[in-house]
């Protein structure tokens, strides 16, 4: 019980920190930290979406960055074609991601284990090359988003603080949704499939259909992160979809603690803040980050959440 409360306390502290960050930023005049954390919150959203299928569903997608790109390109392309309304851009981004996830999931779920990891990667790479070939929309060089999504005065995405709070709201909304999904009958079936697919199938659950729905939900959530990311950087390029980005997301999930509600958020915060701090200390920050990840795997089972649990138990 005590272990649980330590990780709960740290999670609450982190969330309070995220919500109060703009206050600190304006008091200290440190605008950079707000920019940094906007990006962190968006990528935390993406990591949380990956965690839904990876941590709860046992589906190791190594191509999740594809949805970041699809969501981003939906916003970028629409903006380029003169459709600036966020009420159009965001639904299109979500729908496109959902559709991609539906097709990819239906094909990928025919395989399992390492083959599943690789086939999701293959489809993401295809998306990467499609984006590189979009000559009209920048091709390899990427596409500049000259105007952020317009929500007709409801929220102003060009305002740093408003945009930040929009991202935090999206993150919390997605986590609430994941919580609801995971604890629903549907979610329990998906988790049952993770531990024993054959048994679940024998009881009479159409395994693939459940997994596919979960896969699509996850992809759609990640597409939302992509749409936000394009607004944050005012830019979208094929690099968003490159496989190392999918690796980054995976690292965040595992680092924070797979299959825990707030683990991926913790992972994203720690991973990206560490990256930032290390890069201020030395240009060669990855020299430290790389072995650090190795050590986390070797000694820190269950990620940060697992570690906090152990600390709590003393």
């Amino acid at each position: 019980m005590k272990g649980l409360s330590v990780s709960k306390a740290v999670t609450a502290l982190m969330l309070a920190g995220l919500v109060l960050l703009p206050l600190y930023s304006s008091l200290s005049g440190n605008i950079f930290i707000l920019t940094l954390f906007t990006r962190i919150v968006i990528l935390a959203l993406a990591a949380a979406s990956l965690n839904l299928i990876m941590g709860y569903g046992g589906m190791m997608s190594f191509g999740h960055a594809a949805y970041l790109g699809i969501g981003g390109y939906a916003v970028g392309i629409l903006a380029q074609e003169g459709v600036g309304s966020g009420f159009v851009q965001f639904p299109v981004a979500l729908a496109a991601s959902a559709l991609f996830a539906l097709v990819i999931g239906a094909l990928s779920l025919r395989t399992r284990g390492v083959y599943f990891i690789m086939i999701t990667l293959a489809f993401a790479q295809m998306a990467y090359y499609v984006a590189s070939g979009l000559a009209r929309y920048g091709g390899d060089d990427g596409l500049t988003v000259y105007k952020r999504s317009d929500f007709s005065g409801l929220v102003n995405l060009s305002d740093r603080v408003q945009f930040y709070y929009l991202c935090v709201a999206c993150l919390l909304g997605v986590i609430f949704l994941i919580w609801r999904v995971v604890n629903s009958r549907f979610g329990l079936v998906v988790q049952g499939l993770r531990s024993n697919e054959q048994r679940m199938q024998a009881i009479g659950f159409p395994a693939k259909r459940y997994q596919l729905v979960c896969f699509v939900i996850s992809g759609t959530m990640c597409g939302l992160a992509g749409a936000l990311l394009a607004n944050n950087t005012d830019f979208v390029s094929p690099a968003v979809m490159y496989w190392t980005r999918s690796g980054d997301l995976m690292v965040m999930v595992i680092l924070g603690g797979m299959g825990t509600l707030f683990g991926p958020v913790m992972g994203a915060v720690v991973y990206l803040v560490l990256e930032e701090l290390l890069s201020q200390v030395t240009e060669y920050w990855a020299l430290i980050m790389g072995p650090l990840l190795l050590l986390v795997v070797l000694f820190g089972r269950g990620g940060i959440m697992g570690l906090l649990g152990r600390v709590g138990r003393g």
Binding site: Y115, I117, P291, L298
Partner: protein
Amino acid sequence: MLLVVEQFLNGLQFGLLLFLLAAGLTLVFGIMDLVNLAHGSLYMMGAYFAATFVAWTGSFVLGALMALGATLLLGIVLEVTALRHLYGRDHLDHVLATFGLILFFNEAVRLIWGPAGLALPLPAWLTVPVQLLPGIYYPAYRLAIIVVALLVALLLYLGVMRTRIGMLIRAGASNREMIGALGINIKLLYTLVFGLGAALAGLAGLMQAPILTVQIGMGENILILAFVIIVIGGIGSIRGAFLAAIFVGMIDTLGRAFLPNLLRQVLSSTAASTAAPALSSMLIYLLMAIVLVVRPEGLFPANRR
């Protein structure tokens, strides 16, 4: 006609090179059940070692041999210090740990050799074109790659299929407890296999180095290709890796060479020239997706455990 033969040979050469990389990957994967994303880093290190040692010694062959030894050693050190603790763990742990190693190697290279790429010049005797058939010439160096890679493939096949160590390796792949119980030092065997895989990756890297620039991150694209190959071929199957590598090398090379013209037949030339590069890069992934959808275990699955 000339172009077709040349592209065909290029495809073969690329395919064989991919095989060297995929063979090490599939050995380590099939035998130790270790997903090693850092395999591409060993390929990169092979290339950097070669560029350094060749410049040092002034001899291409001597430098290449030293680079081969250095990659072998690096592989062994890597296995003993880090990777051996990961056996029997979840595949996801492997992904995370070896992803960390990629970061480390890329950064270490940047620190040691600097951010700019290196060039590995060829000695004069390897730059001359060789006449294959009357009127058909092919660069000697690319021919040498084909010959070396074929030789290595043959040795590897014989080594795994006909020697005592090969027998132990195959036995260890199907039942590691049993082979340990028979008094075989399984730890040492694994270290050797990993070293061998590293050396193969290093060989691929150092042979490719004179054709491409030696640069940071060069292992990452090609690593994904090697994974595609072992997945198409069936994990743990050397034969599958060989056939799939040749196949992928051919498709990639021929696709890049002829797809633009093919597309121009059906599309306007501007549309064709924009679509062709993306489509030819995608071909392999498309192929892999089709294979996995039709045969989820790959084309030549290794024997069931």
